[in-house]
Amino acid sequence: MDIIETIKQPWPWYVSGPLIGLTVPVLLFAGNKKFGISSSLRHICAVVIPSNISFFKYDWKKEIWNLFFVAGVVIGAFIAASWLSDHQPIQVNGKLVTELAGYGIDDYKHLSPADLFNWHNLLTIKGFIVMVVGGFLVGFGTRYAGGCTSGHSIMGISNLQWPSLVATICFMAGGFLMANLIMPFILKL
C-alpha cells in the first residue's frame, strides 16, 4: 500500500499549497462564501458574549456556515493526526534545532513543542506569554486587521485587494520582529 505510506508522510508545499488555495473556489461554488477563518472568533463572541456591544450585534445565524467550517477543521485535524500520520519527528533546519536547544526545547514529536505548550507551563511566565498573551494578540490583531492569513493573505490577495496585501506584509513584519528580536528574551525566561 504505497499510496497510504505516501499520504502518511508530510506533504510537500507544492501539494498542500494548491490544495489550500482550492478552498477559495470550493467555498465560492458551495454558496458564495468567502474564505476567512478569524471571523469565526467574532461569531463566537456574537453567539456567546455579545454584551450589547454593537460590533457583536448582528445576525450570526447568517454566518453560521463559518462555524461549521471550523468544526470541520477540528475533526479533519483529528483524522489526520490519528490515522494519516507516520508519527515521525518534525524535520526542521539544523540552525533552529541548535537555537531552540539553548532554550530547552528539544522535543520534535508533536507539531507544537511539548516542552513549551503544556498545561503545567500555563502557570509560568514564559508559558503564559506564549500561550495566553499570544492567543490574545491573534484574536485582537486579526479582528483589528479585518482578517487573518486565510481572509487577507489567501482570499484577499486572490481577489487582488491591495489592503489585504498591506495586511499580509504587516503580519510578516510583526512575525519577523517578534521571532527574531523579542522571542529570544521570552524563551529564555
Binding site: F69, L137, I182
Partner: protein, 166 residues
C-alpha cells in the same frame, strides 16, 4: 459623528453587514451547512499534513530558514488568483445557480496596526486562527486555552474598537 465612526465597516468578513451584500433569496435547511463541515474536514487534514500548523515551521519561516511555508502560502495564493480569475472571466455560478459575487475591501489603518499585532501573536503561538482549531483537533488540548484567549482578544477589540485608530 461619533456613531458614524462607530458604524463604519472595517471588517469585511461578516458579509451580511456589507452594504453591497445581496442576501441570497434561497432559503436552505440547516443541514445544507454540512457541506462546509466537510470542506473544513478536508482543510483540517491539509493543515496537519502540510505541517503549517507547526510552531517549529512558523519559527523557521520567520527566521528565513526554510522555503516550506513560503511555498505553501505562495502556491495557495497563485491557485486562488487563477480560480477567481476563471470565475470572473466566465461569470461562473454557485452549485445553487446563484451568481458568484466578490466584494472589494477598503483600506484602513487597522490593517497595519492589527496586522502587526497579529504578526506578534502568530510568531508567539506559531498559529493563526485556522491552526488553533486544527491543533486542538490534533490532540494539543492546551491550545483550547489559547483559543479562548483569542476569542477574548476579539471581544476586547470589539469593546474598545471605537477608541482605536482606523
Amino acid at each position: 459623528m461619533e456613531t458614524q465612526i462607530l458604524d463604519t465597516n472595517t471588517d469585511f468578513e461578516v458579509v451580511s453587514l456589507d452594504s453591497v451584500w445581496n442576501e441570497s433569496r434561497l432559503k436552505h435547511p440547516w443541514w445544507y451547512n454540512i457541506k462546509y463541515l466537510v470542506a473544513g474536514i478536508f482543510f483540517g487534514i491539509i493543515l496537519i499534513k502540510a505541517e503549517v500548523v507547526s510552531w517549529f515551521r512558523i519559527q523557521e519561516m520567520f527566521r528565513l530558514q526554510s522555503f516550506h511555508m513560503y511555498g505553501v502560502i505562495g502556491s495557495a495564493i497563485v491557485t486562488g488568483i487563477i480560480s477567481i480569475w476563471i470565475i470572473k472571466k466566465f461569470g461562473l455560478k454557485t452549485i445553487h445557480g446563484e451568481k458568484i459575487e466578490l466584494h472589494p475591501k477598503s483600506f484602513n489603518k487597522g490593517q497595519v496596526y492589527g496586522g502587526l499585532l497579529f504578526g506578534f501573536g502568530w510568531a508567539l503561538t506559531g498559529a493563526c486562527p485556522g491552526p488553533l482549531f486544527a491543533l486542538i483537533g490534533s490532540g494539543a488540548t492546551v491550545i483550547i486555552v489559547t483559543l479562548i484567549s483569542a476569542v477574548a482578544g476579539t471581544w476586547v477589540y470589539g469593546y474598545i474598537r471605537h477608541k482605536l485608530p482606523h
